[in-house]
Amino acid sequence: MSNSDHTQGSLQLTDLSKYFGEFCAVNKVSLEIQKGEFLTLLGPSGSGKTTLLMMIAGFVDITSGDIALDGTTIVDIPAEKRNFGMVFQGYALFPHMTVRDNIGYALSVRKRPAKEITERVDEMLELVQLQDFANRKPNQLSGGQQQRVALARALCFAPPVLLLDEPLGALDKKLRVEVQQQLKDIHKHVGTTFIYVTHDQEEALSMSDRIVIMRDGAIEQVGSPYDLYEHPATEFSASFLGKSNFLRRPDGLYALRPEKIDIRAAGNGGEPARLTGAIKSITYFGSMQRIIVSIPDGDELEVDIDSWRNQDPLHEGQQVDMLWQDIAAVKLAEG
């Protein structure tokens, strides 16, 4: 099943800004989005990620800057002519239509022949595995099924770009992991450019080709999940994507991931410790344990270790040595 014709789907955002009165919701965002890419806009609420998505969709007017599809500006094209698919937060399925009519809506408003619509909707139903639910109404479906209908509806007319606004926000955690995998498979299958908005860093890490971390309307850092996790550029990136300890050294601020620290009972010989401290608390999570260590200057360090490595259990109050490799501590830019 070929979706988009693969000749379209790259987006260029140039110095894009949006002001609501005095408030700057999106601040000079420039971004090149590749055709077929799975790009995630990640940020806390109020970071402007949804506003940015709505500007691409055409629902929010831009204050300045430019949005171009394959090099041609689209800022003057109204939302209904942009041909971008969109999965809304809460899905926004039409409650009075069946699943089939929901999915076929885009083709039906384009006045395509009934036979073509039926065939295409059948294809989409198969893609999201809802063949048996074609004649149900949305309120007769579970949250996960509604989410798939919304996806099928947005992909039915083979848009070059699919915009997804926190599409998994309403699902419970277990289902979310399952749907993440399905979304990834579907992305690979249809080859459409996906622009995905979320505040959930796990979602962003597990699905994206690239992640854009947003903060106060501006881009904080862009990169692959690996790049961003291993080489956070700022304190904000390091703490928003994954967890991080921050070490102040004479030459600057360093980020240190909790799982990159090795911990052992104090005075056990071997390599000299980089830091020593006393265990303040140990929290058990099954596969791993989170150990909070108080260090002499009054700070606390978080250390994650695999549970199986803690055979001779450390206990609260114990003096410990901590070690890590040089490359584990990442120097951050300070602004």
């Binding site: 209904e80 942009r82 969109m86 809304f88 809460g90 399925l93 039409f94 409650p95 408003v109 384009r110």
Partner: protein, 265 residues
Amino acid sequence: MKPGFFSQFNRIGAWVLLLFLVTPALIAIPVSLTTKRFLSMPKGNYSLRHFEKLFSSPEWISSFFQSATIGLSTSLLATILGTLCAIGLWRVSSKYSEVVRAFLLLPLIIPQIISAMAFYRLWIPMGLLDSYLGLILAHTILATPLVLITVSASLANFDPKLEQASKNLGASNWTTMRRVILPSVRPGVFAGALFAFILSWDEIVVTLFISKFNVYTLPRRMWNGIRENTDPTVAAAAVVLIAITLIAFVVSAIVSRRQSEQTST
């Protein structure tokens, strides 16, 4: 647990209030069954003679059809105007639109007798006095605010994302209106149509002012029936009037329940 004094007081109070509200309407039922030739409560004997007279009298039947014609026309016109108006105000949605809305609700607030005088003064030069059109227009003006209210209430619950979704899928404003917004506010439109019909169906004040010979609605004939002679046919007509109103309500309740079953998520 035994219900406390307060909750029992509440329950009894509710029933008393309900009786207080419906008894005046229900009184018409026994009176319509009296065997006497004047308005009275039946004493042991019941008869349907007044219903027979009601349904065999050409005057009453003609009034019945006149009221139905005016009521249905009013309902249709008021529903179209009120719905368009509600959607327009919802679309614009600024502080000015709220002023316009308040202005449009005036016919509900102004005492009907004042409206009646205004219609009377206006309809004379326009030649609308004592005509179907005049009555339908007057009733439509009174009923449109009711539709505006019910449709606006439906729109308040409408998820604006549905409109965005429709546009995003390529639908024009008009298609979005026809295929997404209107179906979603259908319960409000139905309720408004019903209220508009009922308003016209039992409207008497304005009707007395602007009709005379040509148009003789059911409430007007009842009014005259009571004033000129105390004929229990009036009570029979009242029972029919109430019955039709009730049927309309039940139908709308069933329709709106089916609607909400479809649309609730």
